[in-house]
């Protein structure tokens, strides 16, 4: 009885380990991290336009920047990375939100 018990424990440990390795071989899971956005005019629009492709952390870790900087970034996202920001109104909304909430107060 004891031996069988021991055996089953061993078997369990063995199978357990095997499963663990198999799990690792199945790949990994990337966690979600929340990067809160400041409340402000255009927040939801900016969220929809930017966070579709990348985290908001990627945006705010550019540091506090000028209006021109944020405008150029948005244009780069459109021209180089093909972001689906189609109208001038949408561009202005996103640039205004970023500058008002993550700006350095400078126009240029």
């Amino acid at each position: 009885m004891t031996t069988t018990f021991k055996k089953s424990i061993l078997l369990f440990l063995f199978l357990g380990t095997a499963t663990l390795f198999a799990e690792i071989n199945k790949g990994v899971t990337f966690p979600y991290v929340n990067f809160p956005m400041k409340e402000g005019k255009g927040m939801y629009s900016t969220k929809g336009k930017c966070n579709m492709c990348h985290s908001f952390g990627y945006v705010i870790n550019q540091g506090k920047q000028s209006r021109k900087f944020w405008h150029n970034k948005v244009m780069k996202m459109i021209v180089v990375f093909k972001a689906p920001i189609k109208t001038q109104k949408d561009i202005d909304t996103v640039v205004n939100y970023l500058f008002e909430n993550y700006g350095n107060g400078e126009l240029e």
């Binding site: 990627y58 870790n61 550019q62 972001a83």
Partner: protein
């Protein structure tokens, strides 16, 4: 702070928030932002690190790690450009394609790489060109890294040269383009492709499948990545799955616009007068970082304090590391390790002394390489718009009790 405490101090922060340096006097380079807290979220195969973004993952190594010549895989920094990263790759079916100006388009499996080619190992520092970007003022564009967008590992793999020879380069071949498995959300977005001039190909450039004796972590490019010793990490393509050989350089955003510095003597410019001519960042500057103590560490007066850190450059080798405890007036040599890890690796250094009076004490370190390049003071480093290649004299301020 004990290393153990540093993990305990992994307090709840939903990612580090950049404060930027834009309120400071224009164009004065400062010390990079230090002591950011690690996140409470661990990424796969990693311990919690300073977290700037989850999509794509951008993770920085805390300062305390830089006390030894090798950086553990689970503490190694992470930087991806594209947000869609495969979270499963089957090593039994994975292969890399070699095409373009080659005798035959081929696919080489991971298994073949491990069995059909000469296996090589080397130790090399991997550092982002924008490491320490927070030093620059006004705030330079890009991730606002502190000092930890770097690490050093033992890489095992095969020579790129051997794999290219196996495919057979055509006579007109001049550029080698590399692409990994990471993708943008939109198909229209170009991949993160980097190119190497064929004339820069050498025996030290390898396709690595192992890092510090283990499979590469997914976030460091499992199952295969490019290793370019001495060169900033922009071309160290992760999850590399395609190599295309061409005659002409392709038009690529990440080659033509990103990772470039002014093509002048000081590699500098001003926001009002940006350089017209630029060049790739390429070879790493001489640099050194103190891993222990860190700013805020409390030490006893007259106790035996051992300063530890790492120094490296682009492959000329480190001649000396010096320490100053009087604000940079007097410098004394630190002890360097034996350097058997090679000229592309970190040289770990130590410097033992007894603090003589209570209060704040600033400890600085400065490396000189065998070419004679010396790290400048932070304030003497001139601005460039991408915030690249910072290598200011490092410092930490401890509290002597």
């Amino acid at each position: 702070m004990e290393r153990r405490d540093f993990f305990k101090k992994a307090i709840v922060t939903a990612g580090a928030v950049a404060t930027g340096t834009s309120t400071l006097e224009a164009n004065e380079t400062v010390h990079p932002i230090d002591n950011r807290k690690v996140s409470n979220v661990a990424f796969p195969e990693k311990r919690p690190l300073i977290t700037y973004s989850d999509r794509p993952p951008l993770l920085e190594t805390p300062r305390e790690v830089f006390t030894s010549a090798l950086t553990p895989n689970d503490l190694f920094f992470v930087r991806w450009h594209m947000p869609m990263i495969p979270n499963y790759i089957n090593p039994n079916t994975f292969s890399i394609s070699i095409n373009g100006l080659v005798e035959k388009d081929i696919k080489v499996s991971l298994k073949e790489l491990k069995t059909e080619f000469k296996q090589v190992e080397l130790i090399a520092v991997l550092q982002c060109g924008g490491n320490s970007r927070t030093a620059f003022n006004p705030t330079a564009s890009g991730i606002q890294w502190g000092i930890g967008a770097m690490g050093c590992a033992r890489w095992k793999g095969v020579r790129l040269k051997d794999v290219l020879e196996y495919a057979g380069l055509k006579k007109e071949a001049a550029w080698i383009g590399f692409n990994g498995e990471d993708k943008a959300v939109y198909n229209e977005t170009a991949n993160f492709v980097r190119e190497l001039k064929l004339e820069h190909l050498n025996d030290n450039i390898i396709l690595a499948y192992e890092m510090n004796g283990e499979d590469l972590p997914y976030l460091n490019g499992y199952p295969l990545r490019l290793i370019l010793p001495g060169i900033y990490s922009d071309s160290w393509i992760k999850m590399i799955s395609n190599i295309t050989v061409t005659k002409e350089k392709q038009k690529l955003h990440f080659m033509d616009h990103a990772y470039r510095v002014p093509d002048n003597e000081c590699e500098c410019e001003t926001p009002e007068n940006l350089a017209q001519k630029t060049k790739p960042i390429e070879e790493m500057n001489v640099n050194s970082i103190i891993g222990y103590p860190v700013t805020g560490t409390k030490v006893r007066n007259a106790s035996d304090l051992v300063v530890r850190g790492v120094a490296f450059d682009g492959g000329h080798g480190i001649r000396k590391v010096q320490i100053s405890i009087d604000g940079g007036e007097k410098w004394e040599d630190a002890l360097l390790d034996d350097g058997i890890e090679g000229k592309y690796a970190y040289r770990a250094f130590t410097y033992a002394f007894k603090p003589k009076e209570s209060g704040a004490l600033t400890i600085m370190c400065k490396a000189t390489n065998k070419k004679g390049d010396v790290q400048p003071f932070a304030k003497d480093i001139k601005w460039n718009h991408g915030g690249y290649k910072y290598n200011g004299i490092d410092e930490v301020t401890v509290e002597v009790l």
